[in-house]
C-alpha cells in the first residue's frame, strides 16, 4: 500500500489548479497537482476569446470599472449568482490579468490613433488615446456594456495556460501527469486526500493531505455533442458527490454556446461576434436584431442560443445531413483581421470544414459548452459541508455565474479563484483546524474498496457494454436535458438515467489489458458520469421556472417568488439511484443589486416579495451617500472586502477616465 503525503492535494492541472498550487507553494506549503494529462494539455488551453477584467484601457472600454463588470455579471447570471462572490471576482480580475502580464502572457496592446472596427455590421473608426498606448487592450463580448475582454489573438487560454504551466515549473510545483483520483478519503465530515490510479501502469495508491482541492473542470462530456475536451467528464464533481457529504450546486445550469461548428461541435469563439461577426439564417438574413433589438448577436449566450434554436424551429435553419444549422458570417471582418485576431477559428474552419472563413460562412449550432454548477463552496472555496475539501474553477460553484455565465468570465474565474482559494487553503493549513491524525487503516479501507470495485469490473460476471450505456446517457442528455426543457422530457430522462445507473453495475470489461486499459477507465468513470447527469436532470425537473440557461417550456417565466434559490444535490446513500435535492434561498435583502430585468431576453418574471423593499433600501443608501465615492456606496450596500485575502484588497489603478483626451 503506497501512501504519499502532501500539505495540499490539488486534483486538476488546468488554470485553476495550477494557480492554486502556485499560491499555496508561495505560502511555504507543499502542494502536489494531479492531472489526467500533461497539465498544458488541459481544457483551459481551448479557451479562445479572452478574459474579462475592467482595465478600461481601450477607447471602447473607457469608463469601465468593477461596478460595471459586477452589474453585467449579475444580469448575466439572471440574479442566480452569489453577489458577494461576484464582487470579489470583479475586484480581483484586473489583478489577475496584471499578474499574468508580469509572468509573461503577451496580451494584445492598445495602439494609439485610429483603427477600423466592425460594430453592428458597420465599419466604424475608433480612436485610441495616446496615453493608453502599450497598455492591455480588450475586445467586445456578449452581455457586457464595455469592451472588457483581454486577449491574445484567439489563443488566450493557451497563452495563459502555458504561462502558468511554465511558472509552476519555475516555482517547483510538482505536477504528476496521467494519474486519476478514484475516490476522496474522508471520515466524520473531514476530507483527507484521495485514492488514485496511475493511468500508465494501472497502479492504485493514495495521497494523504491536510487540504484537498478539486479543480477538474466541467462535465460537458455527459452530452453527446459538446465543445469540451474529451477529458471533461465531470468525474471531479462526482468524487465530491460520492462522499455523500459534499454538496453540488445548481447542476441544472448548463450553458450552450451559440457558435460551435457543425458537425464536429468544436468551438468558434464569441470573439467572432464580439469583433463584429453576424448570425444569418437559411435566407442569408441577419435574424438576431429581430429578436434582440438592443444587444443583437451580443446578448448573453443563453439568450442567443435560445433565439437561434427558436429561429430554426420556425424553419429558418439551413438543412444539412447533420440536422439544421445557422451561419456565422465573419467575412465582414476582412481577411486581415481574421488572420491576426481569429487565427484559431481560421485553422479550425480550414481543417475541420475545409472552408476559408474570410470567404465563406461557418455552419454553427448551439452546443453544450459550460457547467455553471459544481461543488458547492463558500466564498473561501471550502466545501460547505466537507471540511478540508476545497474546489475552484469550473468544477466549483462558489457561485459566480448563477444560471448563465458571461463569455470571458470563465478563464478569468479560473485564475481569480486560484488566487483567492490558494490563499484560503494556506490559511486553513496554518491553523490547528487542519491537523490530521488519519490512521493508515482508513486509507487502506478506501484503497481496498476501490480496488475491489475495479476487480469486479475486470473479472465479474457483468455483461453490459460500457460503450452502449454511455452513448445512451449522452443521447438522453442532449435530447431531453438540452436548451429547451419540459417536465415530461425531464421525467423520461431521469427514468432513463436511473436505469442506466443500475445497469452500469453490471458492466463487464472485455479486454483484460495490463496497465492503462482504456476500457476499464471508461467503465469506472461511467457511474460517476451518470450520477452527475442525474443531478443535472433531476435538478432541471424540480426547477419549475426558467432562469438563465435553464429554460422550461412549461414554465417559461423567471419565478423569483418561488425559485430565487440554489439547488443543492447530495448523494447520501451510495446504493441509491437518485440524489437528494434541496433548495437554498438567496437573500434578496443582502443583495447589492436586487433582481430585475436583464436588458435582453424575455421581459418576464415574477418578483420576489423582498425585491421592492430592497430596491427602496438601495435607493435610500445611494441617496444618502450621493456625494460619496463609488467605493463608499458599495461598502454600504454589500461589504465584501473581508472575504478577500488581505493581499488582494488594494484598489485597482486605471487611467483616470475623467481626464479629457491628450493628443
Amino acid at each position: 500500500m503506497k501512501i504519499r503525503y502532501a500539505d495540499v492535494l490539488i486534483i486538476g492541472g488546468g488554470l485553476a489548479g495550477l494557480r492554486t498550487a502556485i499560491g499555496v507553494k508561495r505560502r511555504g506549503l507543499d502542494p502536489v497537482v494531479l492531472s489526467l494529462v500533461p497539465a498544458k494539455r488541459s481544457h483551459s488551453a481551448a479557451a479562445q476569446g479572452g478574459m474579462q477584467a475592467s482595465l478600461g484601457n481601450c477607447a471602447m472600454g473607457q469608463g469601465d470599472d468593477e461596478d460595471v463588470h459586477f452589474a453585467d455579471t449579475v444580469r448575466g447570471s439572471d440574479w442566480g449568482c452569489d453577489q458577494e462572490v461576484a464582487r470579489m471576482f470583479v475586484h480581483t480580475a484586473p489583478k489577475a490579468v496584471r499578474e499574468l502580464d508580469g509572468w509573461g502572457v503577451p496580451w494584445d496592446r492598445v495602439r494609439a490613433g485610429e483603427h477600423e472596427a466592425v460594430v453592428n455590421a458597420e465599419r466604424v473608426v475608433i480612436r485610441e488615446q495616446q496615453r493608453a498606448h502599450g497598455l492591455i487592450t480588450a475586445r467586445d463580448f456578449g452581455g457586457t456594456r464595455k469592451w472588457r475582454t483581454c486577449y491574445t489573438s484567439d489563443g488566450t487560454g493557451h497563452a495563459m495556460l502555458f504561462t502558468l504551466g511554465d511558472r509552476s515549473v519555475a516555482e517547483g510545483v510538482p505536477v504528476i501527469e496521467r494519474i486519476e483520483a478514484l475516490a476522496l478519503i474522508h471520515d466524520a465530515g473531514r476530507c483527507h486526500g484521495a485514492v488514485v490510479r496511475d493511468l500508465v501502469t494501472g497502479e492504485i495508491s493514495a495521497f494523504v493531505a491536510r487540504a484537498t482541492c478539486i479543480a477538474s473542470g466541467g462535465y460537458g462530456r455527459i452530452y453527446k455533442v459538446s465543445t469540451n475536451g474529451i477529458i471533461c467528464e465531470g468525474t471531479g464533481m462526482a468524487l465530491a458527490l460520492e462522499t455523500g457529504v459534499a454538496e453540488l450546486g445548481n447542476m441544472e445550469a448548463v450553458q450552450f454556446h451559440p457558435t460551435a461548428i457543425v458537425p464536429a461541435g468544436i468551438l468558434t469563439t464569441e470573439g467572432c461576434r464580439g469583433d463584429g461577426g453576424l448570425l444569418r439564417d437559411v435566407d442569408g438574413h441577419r435574424f438576431m436584431p429581430d429578436y434582440e433589438p438592443e444587444k443583437k448577436e451580443l446578448a448573453s449566450r443563453d439568450v442567443v442560443s435560445r433565439r437561434m434554436t427558436e429561429h430554426m424551429r420556425r424553419g429558418k435553419g439551413v438543412p444539412s445531413r447533420y440536422g439544421d444549422h445557422l451561419w456565422l458570417d465573419i467575412t465582414v471582418l476582412g481577411r486581415r483581421h481574421i488572420e491576426k485576431n481569429l487565427r484559431e477559428v481560421k485553422d479550425i474552419c480550414n481543417h475541420f470544414l475545409g472552408i476559408d472563413p474570410a470567404e465563406d460562412w461557418i455552419p454553427v449550432r448551439p452546443t453544450q459548452h459550460y457547467s455553471m454548477g459544481g461543488i458547492r463552496t463558500r466564498p473561501s472555496g471550502e466545501s460547505t459541508t466537507l471540511s478540508g475539501l476545497f474546489a475552484c474553477g469550473e468544477a466549483a460553484c462558489w457561485d459566480l455565474h448563477g444560471f448563465n455565465r458571461l463569455g470571458g468570465n470563465s478563464v478569468a474565474e479560473t485564475v481569480v479563484a486560484g488566487m483567492i482559494v490558494g490563499e484560503s487553503i494556506a490559511d486553513y493549513c496554518s491553523g490547528a483546524g487542519s491537523d490530521s491524525d488519519i490512521p493508515t487503516a482508513l486509507v487502506r479501507a478506501f484503497i481496498d474498496r476501490e480496488r475491489a470495485g475495479l476487480e469486479a469490473l475486470m473479472s465479474g460476471p457483468g455483461t453490459e457494454s460500457v460503450v452502449e450505456l454511455r452513448s445512451e446517457m449522452e443521447r438522453t442528455m442532449i435530447e431531453q436535458v438540452g436548451i429547451f426543457r419540459t417536465g415530461a422530457e425531464l421525467d423520461a430522462a431521469v427514468d432513463t438515467l436511473r436505469d442506466l445507473l443500475r445497469r452500469s453495475r453490471d458492466v463487464g470489461v472485455r479486454a483484460p489489458a495490463v496497465g492503462a486499459n482504456p476500457e476499464l477507465v471508461s467503465a469506472y468513470r461511467l457511474p460517476k458520469m451518470l450520477r452527475v447527469a442525474l443531478c443535472v436532470a433531476l435538478g432541471a425537473r424540480e426547477r419549475t421556472e426558467s432562469r438563465g440557461a435553464h429554460f422550461r417550456e412549461d414554465f417559461p417565466q423567471r419565478d423569483d417568488r418561488n425559485w430565487l434559490s440554489r439547488t443543492l444535490a447530495t448523494w447520501p446513500n451510495v446504493g441509491s439511484d437518485l440524489p437528494t435535492l434541496r433548495h437554498d434561498p438567496l437573500d434578496v435583502m443582502s443583495m447589492e443589486m436586487p433582481p430585475g430585468f436583464r436588458g435582453y431576453g424575455a421581459r418576464d418574471h415574477a418578483d420576489h416579495p423582498d425585491t421592492e423593499r430592497r430596491e427602496t433600501e438601495v435607493a435610500a443608501v445611494r441617496e444618502a451617500h450621493g456625494d460619496a465615492d463609488r467605493f463608499a456606496i458599495q461598502q454600504q450596500l454589500m461589504p465584501f472586502a473581508h472575504l478577500l485575502p488581505e493581499r488582494y484588497r488594494g484598489r485597482n489603478e486605471r487611467l483616470a477616465s475623467t481626464e479629457t483626451e491628450d493628443v
Binding site: 494539455r41 488551453a45 503577451p106 502599450g134 489563443g155 502555458f162 519555475a170 477529458i231 495490463v514 492503462a516
Partner: protein, 240 residues
Amino acid sequence: MSDARTLTFRILRHNPQDPASTPDLAEYQLDEAPGMTLFIALTEIRERFEPSLQFDFVCRAGICGSCGMLINGRPGLACRTLTTKLDSVITLAPLPVFKLIGDLSVDTGRWAREMAEQLETWVHRVDEPDVDRLEQRMEPERAEAVYELDRCIECGCCIAACGTARMREEFVGAAGINKLARFRLDPRDERSDADFYDLVGTDDGIFGCMSLLGCHDVCPKELPLQSQLAFIRRKMVRAV
C-alpha cells in the same frame, strides 16, 4: 452511401506494461464517414474492435497538442487530419524519440517539463508585478511578435521530425529554440544573450542543429522555426 470508401488502418501496437507484448502492426477496417477525422476513426476502432487501443486526445480541435503521431510516416496532429485527405490504407505509429506509453500514446509531457526546466522557459525578472498598478507598457507589435512564437503547443512533432534529436537525447530541438527566442523577444524578461548562451550555447542546444529543417516542414502551427533557428544561432555566435 454506397460509394463510401472502406479504410484500412494499420496501427503499430505495443504495450510496454505487458511483458508478453511485442510490437506488431494490427489492421482494422472501417467505412469512411463524411467529415471523419483520425480522432473519430480511432475512437470507433476502440469502441468496436479493440477496447485496449491506446491513444491520446483531449481537445480534438488542434489546440492542445496531445495527439501527435506518425500518419503515413509523417508527424502530425491526428485530431485534425481528415481521412479524405489520405489514401484508403492509413498507417499510424507513435511519435519516435519520445518514451512509448502504449500503442499510439507517447510521453510528451515529461519531455515538455524537462525542456522547461532546462531552458528556464519563463520570464526572468527581479521584481514581482505589482498587481494593483497599471501594467508595464509594451509596443503592440512586440506583443504580437511574442504571441507569434508563443503559439507552440509542444506537441512534439518537430522533435519527431528532427535528425539531431535521434542522435542526441538531450537536444532541445526546434520547440526549445523557438521558446527561447520567444523569451528573448519579451521585454519583460531581463535575461541577456550571455544568459541565453549559457542555456543553449552547446551541441545539445543551438549548435547541434544540422539545419535539416524537418521541424519547419511538419509544425502544425506553422511556426517560423527555420528563421528562429538561424536567428538564434547568429545571436548566440555573437553572444561570446
